[in-house]
Symmetry: C2
């Protein structure tokens, strides 16, 4: 599976397409600055029909420089005969500008469709079949409907270990890979779903300060109030290409960059697009998706954090245990040593929810203070990674991590990374600007805090503008177990404008993100 760093699978015409080469026609490009979330080209309606092409058909477009697959729209007015209108994604992929000649070719039925049906029918896919699906996915030959069908089939039918290993390798091969040339390489991953859980930004400097390599890639938020990449971006740049990333890690041993800019495991980014709207994360695809990202950076020792509990993605110990077993087994087959920590994910971690507020927590922890839960969890995970890598002996990881934190070595390492990523190394927690429009929510009765809901808190923070407004979000003023009195402040909402604040306050109506303990849960009569 080893690939040269920077190499990417190229789209190629299959021999079948060549058969249809004679049914092609040539047009001159006109470029429209429209991004459509997919590759769209517009043809003249009459000319398209003459060529047996209809709305929503997929065609191969070819310029002297490049080729791609696009979906066609039709127009009888905006596009004249002999013209083809290219939306932004297509023009970019083809390297086309006004007037570039574009050949339009019929595309044959993708070979993958047969393999997707095979999976639907409950049969096992071979490495070759999985490779074909990933290749055609990358070539844009498969529609959203076909991909959704594939993911749904995997959800229902499951995947064998062989299939998951094949899928992981196949996904790795679709993207770039980091060739660091240094060892040992560590990594960590969290299944997600916990608001404010920014342990990565504490763990990376601890691990790097201990002398291990940790080329960490993180994601941006999809439905949460912030992803680690969004939060890190408050302090430094996060968009780097693979050679810039390598340079940073070779200098400082660690980095915290946005995975999306690197084109690692590219097929995974396309699969995620399908999985998100359906909230569909079949285990086999989840495993392949996470492990492909780790394999792509050359990770050898990996800690995986599986938060469980009320509102978490994984409900209970049993389910988490099964997933952990799979991670470890599949990881071993792919040459990666994995340890899984099952953590309490029922409540948010830290006080801030939203990029700037979370950043404040992280810097506070690195500076020796900060929310105790964030500090403790980060040291647990970092410690496990130090032990797994053989850096410290079994049972002494937590203390080692704690020492790197309290000695200020982790902070120093973090500043080094921030500086290498183009940020200001001297920023202190209170230098981080928080959105000025504030609304405080108070307790309406006395009691003890029983639960703080991750999803509701995230939604309120999003309604207030996070993660796009970096300074917006929610600041928790209480935690589970606290005794409170009527009138005590529970949390603050921060927004960059009065209208966004209003929007978040309205979103709050009918919700109780902070629950008090009750003896009588409901009365029925």
């Amino acid at each position: 599976m080893a690939k040269k760093e920077g190499s990417i699978a190229q789209s190629k015409l299959s021999p079948k397409d060549e058969v249809w080469k004679y049914k092609k026609y040539l047009c001159k490009a006109r470029c429209f600055d429209i991004t459509a979330g997919g590759k769209i080209a517009v043809l003249n309606e009459t000319e398209a029909h003459e060529n047996d092409l209809y709305t929503s058909h997929r065609v191969i477009l070819r310029t002297p420089k490049a080729q791609t697959v696009a979906i066609i729209d039709l127009s009888s007015d905006i596009v004249q005969r002999g013209e083809i209108v290219l939306f932004s994604e297509v023009a970019e992929e083809l390297g086309a500008t006004e007037g570039t000649p574009v050949e339009i070719l019929h595309m044959q039925r993708p070979a993958s469709i047969e393999f997707i049906k095979k999976k639907m029918d409950g049969r096992t896919l071979s490495k070759h079949e999985i490779d074909t699906i990933m290749r055609e996915l990358m070539e844009n030959r498969l529609s959203e409907a076909e991909l959704a069908s594939f993911i749904t089939s995997i959800y229902i039918r499951g995947m064998s270990d062989d299939e998951i290993v094949a899928l992981t390798e196949s996904v790795v091969a679709t993207g770039q890979t980091l060739q660091l040339g240094r060892h040992p390489i560590c990594d960590k991953h969290c299944i997600g779903g916990v608001a404010g859980n920014r342990t990565t930004m504490v763990i990376v400097p601890i691990v790097a300060a201990a002398g291990l390599y940790i080329p960490k890639t993180s994601s941006r938020s999809i439905t949460s109030a912030a992803g680690t990449a969004d939060t890190m971006e408050v302090l430094a740049d996060v968009s780097f290409n693979i050679s810039e990333m390598r340079e940073i890690v070779q200098k400082s041993k660690g980095c915290i960059v946005w995975g999306g800019a690197l084109r690692l495991a590219s097929a995974d980014d396309k699969l995620i697009k399908i999985r998100n709207p359906l909230s569909l994360d079949p285990k086999g695809v989840l495993l392949a998706s996470i492990l492909a990202k780790k394999k792509s950076v050359g990770a050898e020792n990996i800690i995986i954090d599986i938060p469980i509990g009320r509102g978490a993605k994984i409900q209970d110990q049993r389910e988490a245990g099964e997933l952990a077993r799979d991670f470890i087994n599949i990881g071993k087959r792919l040459g990666m040593k994995i340890e899984v920590l099952i953590t309490d994910g029922s409540e948010p971690v830290g006080r801030g929810i939203g990029p700037a507020l979370e950043c404040h927590d992280v810097l506070s922890v690195l500076s020796g203070g900060g929310p105790p839960d964030l500090r403790d969890k980060s040291c647990q995970l970092a410690g496990a990674l130090l032990e797994l890598s053989g850096k410290v002996k079994k049972g002494s990881g937590f203390q080692a991590a704690e020492k790197l934190l309290s000695s200020g070595k982790a902070l120093l390492k973090f500043r080094e990374i921030v500086e290498l990523q183009g940020g200001n190394r001297n920023l202190k927690p209170d230098d981080i600007p928080v959105a000025p429009h504030k609304h405080t929510v108070y307790a309406t009765e006395n009691g003890r805090i029983f639960h703080i809901d991750n999803k509701m808190i995230s939604k309120i923070a999003r309604a207030a503008g996070a993660p796009n407004d970096k300074a917006a979000g929610v600041l928790l003023l209480c935690e589970r177990g606290d005794r409170i009195n009527k009138g005590d402040p529970l949390f603050e909402i921060h927004a960059v404008s009065e209208s966004k604040l209003d929007f978040a306050i309205k979103a709050l109506e009918g919700w109780s993100p902070v629950e008090l303990r009750k003896v009588v849960l409901s009365s029925i009569n």
Copy 2:
């Protein structure tokens, strides 16, 4: 389930959307003549991001007259702040023109997603849940990926009889219904896949001539060389609205119109769009799809033709028998009397493949001649319908149908229908123009014809231009069982231009649509 004729389920905002009403903004419409096969609107990128809207998001668009759900593309150049570009389908749905004010509202997660996941998990859906999915489908709230996931789940998990009945009723409710006010109403349906199989155009006049009502709706071709609607269109109009259709049937007792123009069982048309690219026709959806169309015209007695054999959609008697049982049972629960005929579908029926060539066969049969297989099959099906409706007694249907044909009564009825549908009642078979550019394929050896392949013949006819070029297609000059000598003509390809003929000839390369009998099938050494 009874609905007033012409009424259609209206899109309504769910209460949840109202919650988000305050997060809306207003733009002025600009209309682009682009058909995208879906509802697309383009927003100014900056303005959209400020409103937490991103590429591929679905939004509710509202004008003083109407509202719809659209998918958004973004532009920072073509679309200015305060503007929204509407593609053709959206502009039409909204009744919007240049400058129409359009309100843009966030859309909440569709309720259907939970129910689709329920089906994925193998649980049974209630009537309410199925209704919700069909309603949100009609409101354009579900993406292709979500729908594909639904269809895939049904394919894998199956559907109970209760679910199929609920789905059929639900689909009927999404469209218009014909209130004919006359009885008995007959109908027929063929599962398809057989080239040249234009029995409908013979059966309808026979049945109507016998005094029964047969308001027949037909489809256009999707992957074949012609649908019945395409073939009928050679002689007459086929696009009518529901009240025009009622008028024709009240006058002549029969019609042969294009179902697509009537908006019967509208949800089905949307589901078909998803099923086709995947070639995915799960039994429950197939049953509901067909029976909803029949229920929508008020059909009481229905003959269903299930062709089986090599290359047919259904492979064997056992599978066809099971499907037949389901048709009969579900039909009974929906108040429809159904008889299923399992027919030989391994070879084309008739000689012509393509609209005009098929039309020639039909007119020949109605005029007393024509291909014997088309004549025989049509009389079998029409006869069964006469018996099922109680018009003639058991066992005498075929003779009754044959008599209506040979007496010329069916031809007279057909001419009446053609005239009512705006065609020329006096056209004779040889008046129908056939495309002038012709290529004849000859036998390259002596032998007996063993098989003529439906799919290959259809593909060649399509390559030659059918169904868009009405006069294009394939004319078979032989049939299964014929003894032929080297140099005998097997079939002709007709096309409207030399280049289209060339294209079809090239498509033929490497294919043997007409197979001779061989003793040794292959030799391995």
